[in-house]
């Protein structure tokens, strides 16, 4: 390696002409240079990271609505993904037309680990099998962001919440938020 072949080493003697014996070694320096260049290039451009995914399985659409499950007021936890990264939540059901149902108390929190996560964990202590209804807010051009949806689904995984559903926001809930001024 890296040796320089000696050339014209013939001593000036005019003796017998011999077949020139060249050394079997070849200079590998350029090849090694190239090899390392390629190695550096591929090492720097390669990406091992595969994107991570979150699995979401939606229920099979029931055209007849016959099997729609009714949720008990005591089990329901409503989470509304508000605009500007706000999370509204209330327990029970909101049905302004039915006077026997008391108006739920709407509260606001955030996506941090002291926010909605603590609310869910506390609720799971009180009520062993809560059903979480996730309602992304969408009214008059104000919408929840996709990040919020992923965050809340992630909270479901973190808090080990088994039953949850992604539903459209009903008009009654929009009114509830507007009236609460939160």
């Amino acid at each position: 390696m890296a040796e320089i072949q000696q050339k014209g080493g013939d001593s000036g003697k005019g003796g017998k002409k011999r077949a020139k014996k060249s050394s079997t070694k070849i200079d590998m320096t350029p090849m090694v240079d190239l090899a390392f260049l390629l190695l550096t290039f591929f090492m720097l451009t390669t990406t091992f990271a595969k994107p991570n995914v979150m699995q979401l399985t939606m229920p099979v659409k029931d055209k007849t609505h016959e099997d729609d499950t009714q949720i008990k007021a005591s089990e329901a936890v409503n989470i509304i993904l508000g605009p500007e990264d706000k999370v509204y939540y209330y327990f029970g059901l909101n049905n302004p037309n039915d006077k026997s149902v008391p108006k739920p108390e709407l509260k606001v929190t955030n996506y941090s680990q002291t926010g909605i996560r603590q609310v869910l964990l506390a609720r799971q202590q009180q009520q062993p099998q809560p059903v979480v209804l996730i309602k992304p807010y969408s009214f008059e051009g104000k919408e929840a962001r996709y990040k919020n949806m992923v965050d809340i689904l992630d909270e479901m995984n973190i808090t080990n919440q088994k039953k949850y559903a992604l539903v459209d926001i009903p008009k009654a809930d929009i009114d509830l938020i507007k009236d609460s001024k939160l």
Binding site: F42, V53, Q55, M58, S138, Y146
Partner: protein, 211 residues
């Protein structure tokens, strides 16, 4: 006493093992490397604690960006070409073999089928310049080309590879939920209920803090 001469070693050393290793690594990196495809739209995915990795192949990616545009990407080239031909036939458009070739080389696209022909005639640089103003694949109920692409791609992939396509939704963190929900709803209508949402990895909360 004769003088002790230091034994002179030749300054050249045997580099053969090093070269062997270098070439081994070159081969390894050459074979494993996957170049990042030049996608039509760049989205910033939200983070989650999910550590599942995306399926390796047979993927259909629906990219949803901030401006409510939907881009469709299919990984297998024969599937892509077959889906293109099926949809073109339905709309009474035909594509030249060059256009089909160009199409199967693109990782994803966001053009209605009517404009796809002229888009494919442009070269890579011109396309890149156009990408900002692309309308996206239409997905409203009157002209739902997105669902056509999904259905044709699924059909073609089963025919070609006998494998179902995985649905991957890659949404921008700032995309609005109604758009994502609409896309999901359209797919649910066609009985596609399993989705993979692309997210970047975030650390799991420590057991003490969260639980």
């Amino acid at each position: 006493m004769p003088k002790v001469k230091p034994h002179r070693t030749s300054p050249s050393l045997d580099m053969t093992p090093m070269v062997d290793l270098a070439f081994l690594l070159v081969t390894f990196f050459m074979l494993t490397t996957q170049f990042r495809p030049d996608e039509a739209v760049v989205v910033d995915t939200p983070s989650s604690t999910s550590d599942l990795v995306a399926p390796e192949s047979d993927i259909l990616t629906l990219t949803i960006d901030k401006n409510k545009r939907v881009f469709v990407g299919i990984d297998k080239q024969p599937t892509k070409a077959a889906a293109l031909q099926a949809i073109a036939a339905r709309h009474g458009i035909s594509f030249t073999p060059t256009q089909i070739k160009q199409f199967s080389l693109m990782p994803n696209f966001g053009v209605p089928i009517e404009q796809l022909g002229s888009y494919l005639d442009k070269d890579t640089e011109q396309r890149k310049a156009l990408n900002k103003g692309l309308p996206g694949v239409p997905y409203d109920s009157l002209n739902n080309q997105m669902i056509d692409w999904v259905l044709e791609a699924r059909k073609a992939n089963i025919q070609n590879f006998k494998k179902p396509l995985y649905m991957v939704i890659k949404g921008d963190a700032g995309a609005d939920v109604p758009t994502v929900q609409k896309v999901i709803k359209e797919l649910q209508e066609k009985n596609i209920n399993r989705f993979n949402l692309v997210t970047s990895l975030e650390m799991k909360p420590v057991a003490g803090a969260g639980k």
